[in-house]
Amino acid sequence: MSAFFKLLFRNRLAAMGAVVLSAILLLVLITPILPLNDPDVTATADRFKRPFSEGHLLGTDHLGRDLLSRLLHGTRLSLAIGIAAALIAATIGSAIGIIAGYFGGRTDNIIMRGVDMLMAFPYILLALAIVAALGPGLMNALIAVAAVNVPFFARNIRGITVGLAGREFIDAARLAGMGHSRIILTELLPNVLPVIVIAMSTTVGWMILETAGLSFLGLGSQPPQADLGSMLGEARSAMISHPHTSIVPGIMIFLIVMSINLLGDGVRDALDPRLRSGALSRPRATTLVERVGDTPAATDDLLAIQDLETQFHVGQRVYRAVGGVSLAVKPGECLGVIGESGSGKSVTALSVMGLVASPPGVITGGAVRFQGEDLIGAPYESLRRKRGDRVAYIFQDPLSTLHPLYRIGQQLAEAIKSHHKVSNAEARERAIQLLNDVRIPNAEARVDNYPHEMSGGMRQRIGIAMALANAPDVIIADEPTTALDVTVQAQILTLLDDLRRDRGLAIIFITHDFGVVAQLCDRVAVMYAGRIVEEGPTQVVLDAPAHPYTKRLIACVPELGGGRRELDAIPGLPPVVDDLPAGCAFAPRCDKAQDTCRAGTIALAGPSSRAVRCLYPEEAI
């Protein structure tokens, strides 16, 4: 609870709202004992005195009544009426909601139909109809405003009650022979009460405004009694000649409503855990780059990732997701990057084209060179021109990676039209061609489907077709087969392999599955805690893994027809990358670890095509 208040008041605006609201509340509470003029005593000689005139701090109104006194008494009345309306609406609405939710069935059905009907009205029509029937007056306005807000409470509280009514403690109370009314009062109500209080605090400002509105229309408080609304309503006729009589009550309503809004926003934010984690931040068009240190020199590779460092900055914490990774591919080559989830392999892949969500992602070092040109920190437009055109991505889970509201054909055509000036007809033609390329049957018809109308395997093919749209030089495939079943997975892998051979495409294939690597990749790099721990030609690594981690990882793969082999899960969990241990990150889970392993940074070492980051490798390399 105190943590909640701390969060609430760290929000400066919310704190300001709280201060203003408290000041107003305090003022109206002590109004009766303040040395004020009688708010209803008229003095026609003193009409329309300006603010700061003698004896009248805020001046006087059209009947010579003291504005300050009327303002405080009016505020008192407005607040009292608003709060009373909120209490009445909350009580009646919650009672209806609890009854509907608790009894369910036909009772619920009939009550909720009625509530729906009431909510079909613009609120003011209902309020006006009630005031029309009962006649103008403050009490009737209060009844109208309360009645209009009853459905809101009924609906919310019913929802909560339905959830609670099915719980064990209610069943237990029933079995214990308690009557309905006792169950509702002693078991349900205490659990629903906090929700009622929260709903009330969010609507009370609204109800103060509504009653003020009715009074403004002349349907609420009747003279000489005045709330803020009727003060404003009466002042309206003299607005042009003596604006201060309107401005004074108007600003008071504004202050009340704004402070309640600020406080309400603060409460909502403090209760929403997503805001604290920064998860509601919008990712920028490219990843933020704050590079320190030198950029490595260019190589003759098609795509080279050099000493790449990508971090996530969340509050004061720094997660080193990628800690100095170097990888490279040549045309026609397929490189596998393998590791457990959280090893940094996807972040490495996304860093290439600046697609790491930022905030919180920041690229802090290294380079990514495409045909020698550094992409890190490149201007947005130059990066965009290469995205999807020279370097394309295939993502995991195509249900969330395809836009749900665009047709397949539109999404494919857009990939082309973002880079080439082609007509709509041509783009569509090309889209159908692409669907044929990835062997989607009946491409002519499928091109007009939406993603949700296709199966998972089909959608993955769409993802591949989209990556192929501009005949790129490099495809980065981020676990493209993880969500698919085995037969579909095999088909997709064959498809990618064919494309690579036919078009000389370079592929970086990210996966956590050694089986997939064995089938597709020429070379493999193993990642652990943001670093490469071993790399080499696929067959060599598979046959003779040098790093203990690689060995355990390979041991995890069940072999078909290989008889009973113990599935050897790795004990422990990968480390959290905001607090990496010195030395080998795998040491805590490694059964061969020595003190020297934990001492200092271990280099990735070995002959040119083969390297391992281990002091005591399993195999000499």
Binding site: L125, P404, L405
Partner: protein, 315 residues
């Protein structure tokens, strides 16, 4: 699509019936003799007796409801005693003016609100975002009737840019430019709160969408950022913005009552308030039923728009 629209229209029938029942029940709350209440305290005894007979107040309530409903279905909403003309004629004429005002305000708040929300989200924590958030906070906190009064003071009285009130100039007015001059302030004052609410909710809807995987896909394809925001993100965000527009339309219609009073706009809201003060209850009753029915139909249009936007909704 046609069958979906028909289905939604059919489903509106019970809601419309419910509205008439609620209005009927509220009107039966009238304390004392309804005929006197309807005709007002100046009514002659003969008139009261005649009205009692006309309204069938000697009959049981259920029967009375069906007579009233039957009359309404034939377009007979009774006669307004204060204006001495059929209720339906008066309401339709006034509703026209309200539609111009509320329709303009609704268009304004939808366009401005969504635009502000999109800019705010695209420039999150930037200067534009902070400026918009601040203006929006003020906008949703000023009661529309106070804002309207302040606008009159500033733009009509002090700067003399725009007319103080009314729908047309008394002399020589009546054309479209004249209407626009008169419409500007009330439409802006009426749109203010709803613009703020829509801007806030559009901003969070956009932020929600911008974190989705399909936005990353669009960027990975090389789609220009402007199109990522205005195309991919906004289109997906509209799925949650459109229902908000439907709800805000109700608030704009409600707010129109205040704005019509402040700006002397000859709409149905001002008619209702006048009718209440004159105890012209048949006029109130007819006005409420007709406006509420239009609002129900408008919400069906919102549902249809939603189904056009989102192919995942079964039609």
């Amino acid at each position: 699509m046609v069958s979906y629209i028909l289905k939604r229209l059919l489903s509106a029938i019970p809601v419309l019936l419910g509205i008439t029942i609620i209005v009927f029940l509220i009107m039966s709350l009238i304390p004392g003799d309804p005929a006197t209440a309807i005709l007002g305290s100046y009514a002659t005894p003969e008139n009261v007796e005649k009205l009692n007979r006309d309204l069938g107040l000697d009959k049981p309530m259920v029967q009375r409801y069906f007579i009233w409903l039957g009359n309404m279905l034939t377009g007979d909403f009774g006669r307004s005693f204060s204006l001495n003309r059929p209720v339906i004629d008066e309401v339709l004429e006034r509703f026209n003016a309200t539609l111009i005002l509320a329709g303009t305000a609704f268009t304004l708040c939808s366009l401005l609100g969504i635009l502000a929300g999109v800019v705010s989200a695209a420039r999150q924590y930037g200067f534009a975002d902070k400026a918009i958030t601040f203006v929006v906070l003020i906008g949703i906190s000023v009661p529309s009737f106070f804002l309207g009064m302040m606008m009159i003071l500033l733009f009509a009285v002090n700067l003399r840019w725009l007319p103080v009130s009314g729908m047309f100039a008394i002399y020589g007015g009546g054309d479209l430019p004249d209407l626009i001059r008169h419409l500007t302030m009330p439409a802006l004052a009426l749109a203010a709160v709803a613009t703020g609410v829509i801007a806030r909710l559009s901003r969070s809807a956009m932020l929600e969408v911008l974190r989705q995987d399909f936005i990353r896909t669009a960027r990975a394809k090389g789609v220009p950022e402007r199109r990522v925001i205005m195309g991919h993100a906004l289109r997906a965000a509209m799925v949650s913005i459109i229902p908000i527009l439907g709800i805000q339309a109700g608030f704009v219609l409600s707010g129109a009552v205040y704005i019509e009073i402040v700006f002397q706009w000859p709409g149905v809201g001002r008619m209702l308030v006048d009718a209440i003060l004159k105890r012209d209850l048949l006029l109130v009753q007819g006005g409420v039923v007709i406006v509420a029915a239009c609002y129900v139909l408008f919400n069906i249009a919102v549902d249809v728009a939603q189904s056009l936007l989102d192919p995942r909704i079964k039609t």
